[in-house]
């Protein structure tokens, strides 16, 4: 052949163009755990729109999202990044022992302060309510010896110490989980803490709230292997070691999500999907109420997803645990607070969500 490179090039781009045209479109990417762009509708006005919503821009994203063999290409990139000697991919750094860490060098300090102030202001309005704030640092603050050297991530522990002082001055009780969390407290491939880590923090919470922690019966322990979490979804580290997700099949009387009775604390079907962590409390929902007659009193939890594997332990102490995720409860928090007679409020957030969340104003709604 006289010009093999040219022939190869044109064959490759034609073949891939054809494959892209004939391969069926996918709704979601299991591997990336996100919805994929669908084929945009052509209209004259959308063609003239030069913003992100325009036809041309959406079509470009559509071609990339629905690219034939997309998952394979993503893996190939991850292999090449390793060949380039890179110690990170797509904002996730590779640590020791297979641990992945989000690169988090800076955060929105203004928004963080505003959220802390919203909590302090809330305390001023509810002087008679017992309130606990349990703010959880990200894994890199606890697993220091496994973080790549000089990664330069933000200092969450100092910021949290300062925040605890602010909140205590405003009338909150605080629990610092950092001293009790250990090397097994976070997943290797996911940004969440493990059930083990959540239990250690639960014990610290119980001590602070004056209740007796209930250790789960080891006979109820269940395991699910092959868990590749959010950090993996970003980094696509081709040789990542999967995590094992642990949960306890704890007895409760009823679980009600947004007013509808639901079967148990866990959505076991999620264990068969990529995002296994979503099994805890059936994922994030506006209002979840857990009843358990063996407990006493009533607890209100305002939280992010870190609480989802933490709440099952609480249901062994409290007769009613009401769990609110402000991100999914646009209005009605005030009515809920005043309508129920809660013995205590627990606010449980991971630092990164506390810094980025923009829904704290809903505490007043």
């Amino acid at each position: 052949m006289q010009s093999p490179t040219a022939v190869l090039f044109f064959a490759a781009i034609l073949l891939l163009a054809l494959l892209n045209a004939v391969s069926p479109d996918r709704e979601n990417s299991e591997a990336e755990n996100r919805p994929l762009q669908q084929s945009p509708h052509f209209t004259v006005s959308s063609m003239l729109d030069s913003s992100e919503r325009g036809f041309a821009q959406k079509y470009e994203k559509y071609l990339s999202d629905q690219f034939a063999g997309r998952d394979g290409w993503i893996t190939l990139k991850s292999v090449c990044e390793a060949a380039f000697g890179k110690t990170e991919n797509n904002g996730v750094a590779y640590g020791k022992d297979g641990h992945l860490f989000g690169i988090y060098r800076a955060y929105d300090e203004e928004n963080y302060r505003a959220n802390v102030e919203a909590l302090a202001a809330f305390a001023a309005e509810t002087p008679d309510l017992a309130k606990t704030a349990l703010l959880v640092p990200s894994g890199y603050e606890i697993l220091r010896d496994r973080v790549p050297a000089n990664l330069g991530n933000a200092d969450q522990l100092s910021a949290l110490a300062q925040t605890r002082r602010t909140l205590e001055a405003a009338g909150w009780q605080t629990v610092d989980p950092a001293p009790v969390l250990d090397g097994d407290s976070y997943y290797r491939t996911d940004h969440h803490w493990t059930t083990h880590g959540a239990f250690l923090a639960y014990e610290a919470f119980c001590e602070s709230a004056g209740v007796t922690p209930v250790a789960p019966d080891e006979g109820l322990r269940r395991e699910s292997g092959g868990f590749l979490g959010t950090y993996y979804n970003k980094a696509k580290k081709f040789d990542a070691a999967a995590d094992t997700l642990v949960y306890y099949d704890l007895p409760v009387d009823s679980v009600t999500i947004n007013g509808e009775a639901t079967d148990g604390l866990y959505d076991l079907a999620k264990l068969a999907t990529r995002d296994q962590y979503a099994m805890f409390l059936h994922g994030n929902n506006g209002v979840t109420v857990i009843e358990n007659a063996v407990g006493e009193g009533s607890l209100l939890v305002v939280k992010d997803s870190y609480a989802n594997c933490f709440v099952p332990f609480l249901a062994q102490n409290y007769r009613t645990v009401t769990v609110v995720d402000l991100r999914y409860l646009p209005t009605g928090f005030r009515a809920l607070l005043e309508g129920g007679s809660f013995d205590r409020l627990l606010v449980l957030y991971n630092f990164e969500n506390l810094a980025s969340d923009e829904n704290f104003y809903r505490l007043d709604d």
């Binding site: 490179t5 030069s50 797509n90």
Partner: protein, 457 residues
Amino acid sequence: MVFSSVLFLFAFLPVTFLIYYAAPYRWKNTALFLLSLVFYSWGEARYFPIMLSVIAVNYASARGMERTARRGTRAAFLWIAVLFNFGMLGFFKYADFLSSNLNALFSLDLPMLRLTLPLGISFYTFQTMSYTIDVYRGDVPAERNIIDFGAFVVLFPQLIAGPIVRYTDICTQLHSRALSLPEIEGGVRLFLLGLASKVLIANNIGSLWRDAEQIGFANISTPLAWLALAAYTLQIYFDFSGYSLMAIGLGRMLGFRFPKNFDFPYESRSVTEFWTRWHMTLGAWFREYVYYPLGGNRCGRRRQIFNLLAVWALTGLWHGASWNFVIWGLYYFVLLMIEKMFLLDRLKKNCVFSHFYLLLIVSIGWGLFAITDFGALGAFFGRLFSMTGGTDWLYFLRNYAVTFALGALFSTQVLKKPFERLTQNRAAAAVIYGALLLVCTAYLVDATYNPFLYFRF
């Protein structure tokens, strides 16, 4: 549309080349014209009429000039085209810059337009101007066929990031060009080298600069500031020269020979030499259409210095409507003056020092170039020269070491000869270039950092 995208590579290119190669010879320019218009209008369809008006005005004024021998009429036609072309460029690119300066000077409240620039406006304006001026000077006859002329103006390979192709460079090829397999093969190879420069080196090393920007220039250590500057220095070279290589390669696949734009500029040993090897077609344009018409070096020493000052202030401003670009241009004016006065001879004598000097000067120049905000610029230069310690740079050095090494290696000609020998073997070439295409595709599909740096140009 930009080259380093899935859309361009796997939708636009296959369709374009199928149509272009299948079209009968006399329809090829029409096909090229229409396809280039699609390329230009994609995502910015509202600017479509602008391109058509640029073509129409320049076509008509050149034809008008040719119909008369009267100097005054010819000059009038030239001025119509000049005012129209630079009016467009001025309106889209410099209106906000002008207003914000007037606002600051006279405490006015002129509104900001915040327009996105029409794709490649700085490049096609210069290309079109070269045509109209050349016709005015009588260097080249006016183009009769408006389709052929339109194809020259909006030709997609060099539309968005150069090289700046003058009409005289390609007017013969515009009317008769041969497509041959060896040319196409050569074009494909250049295109893939350019794509790899952009996607594998520029984007990869550029994310270090972005990281430093995100940490905040006020928070980084001095070693990290230098590391980030070195990364930007490599990024801008591989991005820009990569774009030019892709353009030249695409041109050859279409049967055109475009002028070279980069000649291993970081191997230079003086600023004077650097500017004959960096963005060569821009320097040539300013020489031909600004420096010589102003009198060049023929009207005395003082006038020459003024002419150079004008050229470098304009060169700076051409790169973006912001004072830092003007400062960047004047920085080079001063350095070129110093070299002219005494430094050049000394640089020629000392091989090691001159290389070191050039890289240092050019890197610092890129610092001025990269940061448009003066607060951030001050913070960054503060860090560069303040001896601020820290260990933050160690992670970046470790993460980017291989990319740095590859970038440094490929910005010299060390591997040029061995690579050429190796790829003389057609099978070996197919394997190497095939692998480059494969890997580039993976990086384009999972693109996290793929900036288009010329949106200001």
